[in-house]
């Protein structure tokens, strides 16, 4: 399994307990579309880039169905907050806090992201 990519481009990194983890190149992210990345411990994260090039990362698992699909949802902004809508049953999740906007009791983990 290859976890690091060799290029000279800007990298997208997210903060895990033991430091910054490089997930992919910035160019792999299309504004408005997500990708999934695999973490060293087997968990999955969904990475997004918006049109102003801000980056977001939340857990890839859709808590309502269990399927690892949030990276494949459509993104948008509502009242200036970025969100992703699950492609399965369409619930919206705030990309900054991970909170489910349709059900206050549900949230997904959110990660700190940067480019380096």
């Amino acid at each position: 399994m290859t976890l690091a990519l060799e290029t000279t481009d800007l990298k997208v990194q997210l903060r895990l307990a033991d430091g910054w983890f490089t997930a992919c190149e910035l160019s792999a992210l299309v504004p408005g579309r997500g990708v999934a990345a695999l973490l060293p411990d087997g968990r999955q994260v969904a990475l997004f880039r918006d049109r102003a090039d801000r980056l977001y990362a939340v857990d890839n698992r859709d808590p309502f169905t269990g399927a690892a699909v949030l990276s494949r949802g459509l993104t948008g902004t509502h009242r200036d907050r970025p969100f992703v809508s699950s492609p399965l049953l369409k619930q919206r999740f705030d990309l900054i806090s991970g909170e489910c906007l349709d059900d206050g009791a549900v949230r997904v983990a959110a990660y700190e992201v940067r480019t380096a």
Partner: protein, 872 residues
């Protein structure tokens, strides 16, 4: 045999027509069906049906669709309904009715609702084979049968409302049609000279021949006694092999005459304001057989309904509800022929000292006249060519309109033309005259019964469930009322756009906008500009751009550039997402026809990739359980074998199903498989507001179920019939007949126009069925636009479709041949070779199914993840 009345009093109703049925409902509402035995003698072989909508039989409504009642209503209320058993004699002394079957019923109350019979002028030859009247479903069945087998030309005697409907129907049956009217103009009762002239032009333009100012003198027949023509009063002879008499109706009062009830000089059973016959307190008469206390026989359904209520209230002797029928409005609106004709109130200006306001444009076939009283009261009017304002004007009749009458008849755009919204109407104004529902009642349905939509208001008040002419005003009123109550009726597409999908389509087309971002920044709601849009507008705008791609200069590949970010996950991966995160693959199998070699390829691929296979409801094969990274491998093999995308993932054309048709089937009259394949290949890849489905059947037996499709085609001996607006799913709808006996080229041209018009004007996720029900004017309007080119846009619609057809490319072939496009087909951006471990399967019936326990345990969210996420 005598049926004893027993202890419970008996009400016998003679005639189960429209008014009779309404009377039964009125009895039930007042609890009288519980306290009385109710017997109904019905002459026709079927229970009451919607005679007003009779002609819609020819546009595909079945006799069952037209029915006004169901077995449940009849049994629930314990009504004894005797079908096909007319009353023959009445013994008023003994209070007994004898039916044709010999059954005898004693009554306490007898209600006559026998309606009218069509008047046939006593000309020689009137009973020849091929002569018909136009009153019952049986009449229509007979006309249809004869027109199909024995006639090519038809003539209608009578150019009134019904005559025009009948002539339109004959034309629809493929006959060359003539109308012969004795009066100097068409619809002499409703319109004046000016209106008649405008009407004549429009009717002639539709290809009907009109002969006014001449009478029918004789029906000419051949040796076998079948019609061959008719002699007219001007000495000419008209060749025709079918004649429909529509020269007015006469009240069916023979039964009443025979038992000595008083009838009027020109017919009609004389009744008082309570609808009780003047001769016998035990006998009532309602509907078209009654001569009302104002000396008139009403030939319309609304006054009949009022009489039914009056009679029921009188029988209930309800002190709180003293109804009386003292007269009614004679407003009418012509349906069917595609010409709007309406008249209301004192249309001919018979009131003393009244004034006319007339607007006439003979080139455009427009004529509008309002009759105004000295004090400015609107008394009535006539509208020909454009009856938009009918609902509002009818409701304003009897009051002084809040704006000048001139501005009400001028067309919009002609300077001072003013639109008078229904908000200007007083609460007492009757909006629905079929059911006598006032504006106040409709407002009450919104404010007190919390109805928020037109269907809810219809259910609550009955308004709009008769002739349907008031539905438009109803919609305006409901919205106005909601708005007045602070409920914001925002018709915008979503939180980002205040425009409807239709408006956005026009903007994209006119300004050639090829990006969602651009559209949002320029036309989005103030606070949404500069943002990222949302999951509603992105795919909707993506679809509009895709539908118009060749015309506006956008890329035809839906995953190019920004378009990629707009698509739902299905379109993004060109496959259908399943519950466990895997995808299904559906290659196109046009018309459901597939050669053995291709079947084998599908079998081999499914076997090699371990996919679950199933025959779909759309006559093709679905392969389930593919991981994203497998999609390109699967498709490389499919493309290689000559398959292309089936667009099962897109809001686009899905399948065109077929039956085997004339090639194999002993009944088939056309090659339905070839046509289905042609249509599927023509419209493949066409992005639309919702999915599009079609089917082609080789004969009327309809094995392909074309009438449940967005556009369905059924073969006839002479070509193809095109049906539109059908739907399966949760709210099934039978498609409506749009046009008949089309050649291949005509069929394709009409579908081109229909689809492009739908794509242009429908809302997001609105199937053609819902769209057809929603858009003002419904099917008639769509027919006007796509068949008669009333908006002059058909060239443009055809052009758009030609561009689509010319630029179609298979999305999957393009994808598998481009390494850059293939990059997205990985489960993990940082581990392209690793499959998603959540996607797992267990065996079932020799195939696989998703491993759901694995899913519900899932992968626990990390506890070491930080709250919130930094921005770069």
């Amino acid at each position: 045999m005598t049926t004893a009345p027993g202890a419970t009093p008996t009400i016998v109703l003679v005639g189960h027509g429209m008014v009779g049925q309404r009377f039964l409902e009125a009895l039930a509402e007042r609890g009288l069906t519980a306290t009385h035995r109710v017997v109904v003698l019905c002459e026709e072989p079927r229970p009451a049906y919607d005679r007003v909508a009779l002609t819609s039989y020819f546009s595909g409504r079945t006799p069952e669709d037209l029915s006004l009642t169901d077995g449940e209503f009849i049994t629930l209320h314990g009504i004894e309904l005797c079908l096909g058993d007319p009353a023959q004699t009445i013994d008023r002394e003994a209070r007994k009715v004898t039916a044709r079957s010999g059954q005898v019923f004693e009554y306490d109350v007898l209600v006559l609702a026998t309606g009218s019979y069509p008047f046939v002028p006593p000309v020689p030859g009137k009973d020849a084979v091929g002569c018909f009247v136009y009153r019952t479903i049986e009449d229509l069945l007979a006309i249809e049968e004869y027109a199909k087998t024995k006639a090519s030309t038809g003539a209608v005697v009578g150019g009134g409302l019904l005559g025009l409907e009948a002539a339109g129907a004959l034309k629809g049956l493929g006959l060359t049609s003539h109308i012969v009217e004795f009066a100097p103009r068409l619809m002499p009762v409703q319109v004046d000279e000016g209106g008649g002239a405008a009407l004549l032009r429009t009717i002639e333009e539709m290809g009907l021949s009109v002969h006014t100012g001449v009478g029918t003198q004789e029906i000419v027949t051949d040796a076998s006694g079948a019609v061959t023509g008719m002699k007219l009063s001007d000495g000419s002879e008209l060749a025709t092999d079918l004649v429909v008499f529509s020269a007015g109706v006469r009240p069916r009062d023979q039964l009443a005459r025979d038992c000595g009830l008083t009838v009027g000089e020109r017919g009609g059973i004389t009744v008082d304001e309570q609808c009780r016959t003047v001769s016998d307190p035990h006998v009532f008469a309602i509907g078209e057989c009654a001569l009302a206390s104002d000396g008139r026989v009403y030939g319309l359904v609304a006054p009949g309904y009022e009489q039914a209520e009056t009679a029921a209230a009188t029988i209930a002797a309800d002190e709180t509800e003293q109804l009386a029928f003292t007269g009614a409005d004679l407003s009418t609106k012509l349906k069917l022929l595609g010409v709007d004709v309406a008249s209301f109130g004192d249309a001919h200006g018979t009131t003393e000292d009244c004034l006319d306001v007339v607007y006439s444009d003979s080139r455009a076939g427009l004529y509008k006249k309002l009759v105004i009283g000295r004090d400015g009261t609107l008394l009535g009017g006539i509208l020909v060519g454009d009856a938009e304002a009918y609902g509002t004007l009818r409701a304003l009749t009897g009051s002084v309109p809040p704006i000048s009458p001139e501005s009400l008849v001028l067309p919009a755009g002609a300077g001072s033309g003013a639109q008078l919204g229904p908000s200007a109407l007083p609460d007492e104004a009757v909006i629905c005259s079929c059911h006598n529902v006032s504006k106040g009642t409709i407002r009450g349905a919104v404010t007190e019964h919390s109805c928020t939509t037109v269907p809810e208001v219809k259910k609550c008040t009955k308004a709009g469930t008769g002739c349907g002419s008031c539905v438009k005003v109803l919609g305006q009123l409901v919205n106005a009322e909601l708005e007045a109550n602070g409920v914001e009726v925002d018709k915008g597409l979503c939180g980002c756009f205040s425009q409807t999908r239709e408006e956005l389509y026009e903007i994209v087309l006119a300004l050639r906008i090829t990006s969602h971002r651009d559209l949002l920044d320029r036309y989005g709601r103030e606070d949404a500009r500069g943002g990222d849009g949302c999951e509603t507008c992105k795919p909707a705008v993506g679809s509009i751009i895709a539908s118009l791609a060749p015309t506006i200069g956008a890329s035809g590949y839906v995953l190019d550039g920004e378009q990629a970010a707009l698509q739902d996950t299905n379109d993004h991966f060109l496959a259908n997402l399943q519950k466990n995160g895997s995808y299904s693959v559906v290659p196109r199998i046009p018309g459901g026809e597939i050669a053995p070699e291709k079947l084998i390829v599908i079998g081999e691929i499914a076997r090699d990739f371990g996919l679950y296979t199933k025959i779909t409801g759309g006559q093709r094969i679905d392969m389930f359980g593919a991981r994203v990274e497998q999609l390109p491998l699967i498709w490389a093999r499919l493309v290689d074998a000559g398959f292309e995308s089936g667009h099962a993932y897109g809001k686009a054309l899905r399948t065109v199903k077929s039956c085997v048709g004339s090639t194999w089937c002993r009944y088939g009259v056309q090659d339905s498989v070839r046509m289905a394949i042609d249509l599927e290949l023509r419209y493949r890849g066409l992005r639309s507001p919702h999915k599009l489905k079609s089917a082609v059947s080789g004969c009327q037996r309809e094995c392909a179920e074309a009438q449940s499709k967005d556009f369905g085609v059924i073969a006839t001996a002479n070509g193809w019939n095109l049906y539109v607006g059908g739907n399966g799913g949760a709210t099934p709808r039978h498609a409506d007949l749009l046009a008949q006996d089309l050649s291949d080229a005509e069929l394709v041209r009409l579908i081109d126009r229909f689809l492009m018009f739908y794509i242009r004007t429908a809302d997001r996720l609105e199937r053609t069925s819902v769209w057809l029900e929603r858009i003002p004017g419904g099917l008639d309007h769509v027919r006007d636009v796509v068949v008669h080119d009333s908006l002059g846009i058909c060239d443009e619609l055809e052009q758009l479709m030609r561009a689509h057809v010319a630029h179609y490319r298979d999305e999957w072939a393009e994808t598998v041949n481009d390494p850059e496009k293939l990059a997205r087909f990985v489960s993990f951006v940082n581990a392209p070779d690793t499959p998603d471990p959540v996607v797992a399967f267990v065996p079932e019936r020799d195939q696989i199914k998703p491993d759901l326990p694995l899913l519900s345990i899932g992968l626990r969210p990390a506890d070491d993840a930080l709250e919130g996420s930094a921005q770069r």
